[in-house]
């Protein structure tokens, strides 16, 4: 491979990782608080839809992206109600949440063709190789890369982070410390869904396509895997997302260059997903937060 191809694969890879990165960062917050947010795929899809719709109505890409924030918050409230207040089995109802996938049947044909422009950062983008790869990206990508350290700080350097991590490890202890586990988990799920929904919207914003059926193509589930791969650590999660993004870019390249063209396109399409699965399996087993996925009943409410 010559250098232009390498640069283009990595540059495209970084752009393509944006949606999963947002989603995985959001998911990590929920899981750290003890909620396995499997509604992730559905929430991303909603984000994508809202964004595409806003663009079609002529409101512009950024309106679409920003609209995804309140929509994510509302979805988060709904999911938090199911999981936290109703104590619904998180895994089962998460799958039901994902069946909002069905919605997209009604939304076919919301077509858009524009996408966000790349922004070259002055000076930095002139650095050979790195400049072209990292510093000529759409704004949502920069934001995602900025969000990672912020989420890290939120989880590890704030009281709120300490609280939600305790709620994800041993909620009974959180409660005895005088904190409300339900309130913490509500907040975490809402924040989580806002990020995830924004990630879904960014999918529309960076690719010049439109809203087609199942536009998220399982990226929500990829994000779920990336959280495990990244051990709930935002920095490692960036690495995991990059792996997925780059293998996706590679897949496009390979198809367009037509090498190994004898392979069916489905094989290439599945490459990024296979890479992610293999990485999760190969990475030594990591530990879920202890109380992740376990509904919590406050002591006062009849143990």
């Amino acid at each position: 491979m010559n250098s232009t191809i390498v640069i283009s694969v990595f540059a495209t890879g970084i752009a393509l990782m944006t949606p999963v990165l947002w989603a995985a960062l959001g998911e990590a917050i929920a899981e750290r608080a003890g909620v396995l947010n499997i509604g992730i795929e559905g929430v991303m899809l909603f984000g994508a839809l809202v964004c595409a719709w806003a663009i079609r109505e002529g409101a512009g890409i950024w309106t679409g992206l920003l609209l995804a924030i309140p929509v994510g918050a509302v979805l988060g409230l709904a999911l938090a109600y199911l999981w936290v207040s109703r104590g619904a089995d998180q895994i089962v109802s998460g799958i039901i949440g994902a069946t909002s996938l069905l919605f997209d049947e009604f939304l076919k044909g919301v077509g858009v063709v524009t996408s966000l422009d790349e922004i070259s950062i002055p000076l930095l983008s002139d650095i050979p190789w790195i400049g072209e790869i990292v510093f000529q990206q759409p704004s949502v990508t920069y934001l995602a890369l900025l969000a990672a350290p912020l989420v890290f700080l939120l989880l590890n350097r704030t009281w709120f982070g300490l609280y939600i991590r305790s709620a994800g490890e041993k909620p009974r202890a959180t409660e005895t410390a005088g904190l409300s586990v339900p309130a913490l988990r509500y907040t975490a799920v809402v924040v989580s869904c806002v990020l995830i929904c924004f990630g879904g919207a960014s999918l529309i914003a960076i690719t010049s396509g439109g809203f087609v059926t199942n536009v998220t193509a399982g990226q929500g589930f990829v994000a779920l895997a990336i959280v495990v791969l990244g051990r709930w650590n935002p920095f490692l999660i960036v690495g995991g997302a990059l792996l997925f993004g780059v293998s996706q870019a590679l897949q496009f390249q390979a198809q367009s260059l037509g090498f190994l063209s004898s392979l069916p396109p489905e094989a290439w399409l599945s490459l990024p997903y296979l890479v992610t699965i293999v990485a999760v399996v190969v990475a030594k087993s990591s530990r879920y937060p202890n109380a992740c996925g376990v509904p919590f009943t406050p002591a006062g409410a009849a143990r």
Binding site: L162, E169, K170, A173, T174
Partner: protein, 512 residues
Amino acid sequence: MLGITKRFGPVTACDGIDFVLGRGEVHCLLGENGAGKTTLMSILFGLIPPDDGQIIVDGTSVQFGSPRDALNHGIGMVHQHFMLVPEFTVAENVVLGSRPAWTPRFDRAAAEEEVREVARTSGLEVDPRALIRDIPVDVQQRVEILKLLYRGAKVLILDEPTASLGPAGIKSLFEGLATLREQGHSAILITHKLTEVTAVADGVTVLRGGRLQGSFRQGNTDEAELARAMTGGDIAALPVRRAASGGEVVLRVRGLTVKDTVTGRNAVEDLDLEVAAGEIVGIAGVEGNGQRELADALAGVLAPESGTILLDDADITAMPPRARHAAGLGVIPEDRLRWGLVADLTLAENLALSDISRGGLRRRGRLLDLDGMQARAAELLETYGVRPPNPKARASQLSGGNQQKVVIAREMSRQPRLLVAAQPTRGLDVGAIDYVHRQILDMRDRGGAVLLVTNELEELIALSDRIAVMYRGRFVYRAVTADADVDAIAMAMAGISPEDADAQPGAAMEVA
């Protein structure tokens, strides 16, 4: 507390109980399993709302909606099961829940400094940066107490604080309490052990079946009177132990090495052990010296690094737990909620678990024989004195001691060839302890082999035919019980070999 009443469905856990605690007083709360001790104290701590009655603190009537309210009035509680986050450091656990209002930023270094300061003034030494999962139980307990002190608690409620401690840990806990009392704190201690009452208490309150049996002052009562108040009768001494029958070897362990799953160190190191039919071998040790890992390896829930385990000459080293059960192994695990019971299942289901996996209690091939399950459960609950003896109750609704009885009922009723009993009487009341002791002795006399892991020296000596003390994964002391020396055992538990002790007599310590 005046006229406190709490009902759980048909069960009245507390029935019009009055409880008075003076400032600077250490007060013991005594009672059999299910007497309502934990419930009464959870009410005082704001965890459970009472159905009736009132709480008066310093002359004013208060109502606690949550632990936070109780803490604001200076009342704090350490639970029977510790409420610590294992993945957090000591400091993080202590300050959790006392965020200063003015900043969202969590300053770890400042927290550590503050905790170090509280630890110093209260005389409870800990390393604020250690992870909870890496420190032994007695230090974890200190952290629990620090948590309360940090939040300004003046009244400390400790639910069975000595149940998981060895003699040395108990001694330092009591010393700690004495210091705190001098500083003007009060403490309520829930316990089953009368010796502890006489050792530390200024006052005692006894509950039975949810009712107040009486309040006593130190000096105005004795152990016999308290025991009668607790149980409503006298307890007969254990039957005289017959000499071990010396049958064939049932359990043979060779060169067993087991790694600690968390730290990766060898928790059990190159251990040899034999238990014969008709014999009870007692293993003592301060918690965290490999006894649990040994029991887990025998139970089949922890894979050993190397070594072999033979049960009746069959190699069971690689067998899964179910096959071991079938081969005649019974296990009373130390952590009953984790390994012994499924908290959300009913007692009938819990009692039937091992039978079902062996193909019992089934009807028409695959379906469960539900009536049979209920009937058998009712019978077992009755025999083992579980309260309430209701097969349909969920395991999580039982008091700590009654949960333990359910596990014992299930394992003993199967008449295993070898019984591995880890802390079998932890959290049981005197009557129940006596019952379990009789069961264990009975099993031995019928030719069963028993491996008893305990940190109660009295229990160890009363039951065992042979004794071994574990320290850092090895046996540092072995003796036939008749020849064993209590001081030597206690010292071996603390890691002091007999020779060292001779050199410095001051190192010898008392046995509670």
